[in-house]
């Protein structure tokens, strides 16, 4: 019994040797902990987009064939992008809306590039839950505000693709893009 008390509870013994011993055990357990936590880095980051996916995250689109009033769907990051050539009437409609009445206040100028206000480039992803709104394709309904209409839950966007009605919280997202020439736009 006496022996057991000593061997099974070494921490009860006295002296500096014991404190040093506790420190070593603590250090060893901590090292194992550090090893375990650093293992998580590869185990977690492997699920992030891989190099081939990231490499495809920019798209160049030729827009020379899009007439005023027309729109095309392109692909950016495996999601649709709407590229729309607005008519003067649509631009006027968008500019006529009082900003203060909007859920997500933005002017058309803020959503387009200077000097290219007729080119409205937005993600074709409804900001509610991610469906593709109608309105970019030929003959699709554009909703009561003449822009886009999401059939999933009834969100309606205006000619500047701003949310006007329905559950979506935000305007359709404008991706980063630039005009590399008058007819080519690079998205991403």
């Amino acid at each position: 019994m006496a022996e057991e008390a000593i061997t099974d509870a070494p921490e009860l013994a006295t002296g500096d040797g014991v404190r040093r011993r506790d420190f070593i055990n603590l250090a060893a357990v901590s090292a194992a902990g550090v090893a375990g936590v650093s293992l998580l880095v590869p185990l977690i980051s492997q699920m992030a987009p891989s190099a081939d996916v990231l490499a495809e995250s920019s798209t160049e689109v030729d827009i020379s064939a899009i007439q005023p009033g027309q729109a095309i769907k392109s692909i950016f990051r495996k999601q649709p992008v709407f590229i729309r050539n607005l008519t003067p009437k649509e631009i006027a409609e968008a500019n006529a809306v009082p900003i203060s009445s909007l859920r997500d206040p933005q002017t058309l100028a803020e959503r387009t590039k200077e000097g290219k206000e007729n080119w409205l480039i937005t993600m074709g992803v409804c900001t509610h839950l991610g469906c593709v709104p109608l309105g970019a394709g030929e003959g699709e309904i554009k909703g009561e505000f003449g822009g886009y209409f999401c059939p999933c839950h009834g969100s309606a966007y205006d000619t500047a693709a701003r949310i006007r009605k329905g559950p979506a919280p935000k305007n359709l997202e404008v991706p980063t893009y630039e005009f590399t020439s008058d007819t080519v736009v690079k998205i991403g």
Binding site: I24, A28, A31
Partner: protein, 281 residues
Amino acid sequence: MIRIISILVGLFFTLGLAWSFGNGAYTAITEPAPVTAEHEFHLVPKEVHFASDGPFGKFDRQQLQRGFQVYKEVCSACHSLRLVAFRDLAALGYNEAEVKAIAKGFQVPGIDPNTGEANMRPGLPTDYFPKPFANDVAARAANNNAIPPDLSLITKARHDGGPYVYSLLTGFQAQPAELLKEFPDAKTPNGLHYNPYFANLNLAMAPPLTADGQVQYGDGTKSTVDQMAKDVSAFLIWTAEPKLEKRKQTGWPVLGFLLFATVLGYMSYRSIWAEKKKKKA
């Protein structure tokens, strides 16, 4: 009972083996296996050193760029590199614009956006190296009935990969007279080329690097056949394992930490067992 059965089963297998052994030994004595030309004249790859060798090895990016140039101007006529994308070339030290320009220099299969017909278009960084032949049948037809293997993984798909490729490229020679004397039937067939570093000595590929200066290097390195062979081998070591450098660089801190943790673990083990061990003395 079980022991009697076991001994009987044991005898069954040992006698079966002894029978096979006896037959094999008899055949080996009466009909010794013929010596083949491959066995006598095949050579192991030459000794050659690459910057990426060894535990501290790093790629020599200048050399990889030269090797890429050799691949592009010589090998790519017949050999594909299907697992490598142009974007990967950024690892060779090319910047984004250079990668784009390189990609543009290759024609890759595409689709006409208006008619939907198959066509060729200039490559993009996300495209993979195009294949020189449409399919295996075309490759066979154009290459004396031998398919030129894809080179993406070639240095990992052969023993002693880098030195093997280098030796093969520099190993073409006339068939030795002793070989013909010893094995008159082993004369290199028409259309094949003798190379002692190739497994069966006769290779369908004609010597691809034939003259010094066949490729004009931009960095002033003299493009001897030996240098070109070495450079393209180095490039193919990279294509087979682009992550080789990162692997070795990750390995050192990992091993260092594990050594430290193991020593701590050992000390902790000793201290916990100290009481138990003490009584041993």
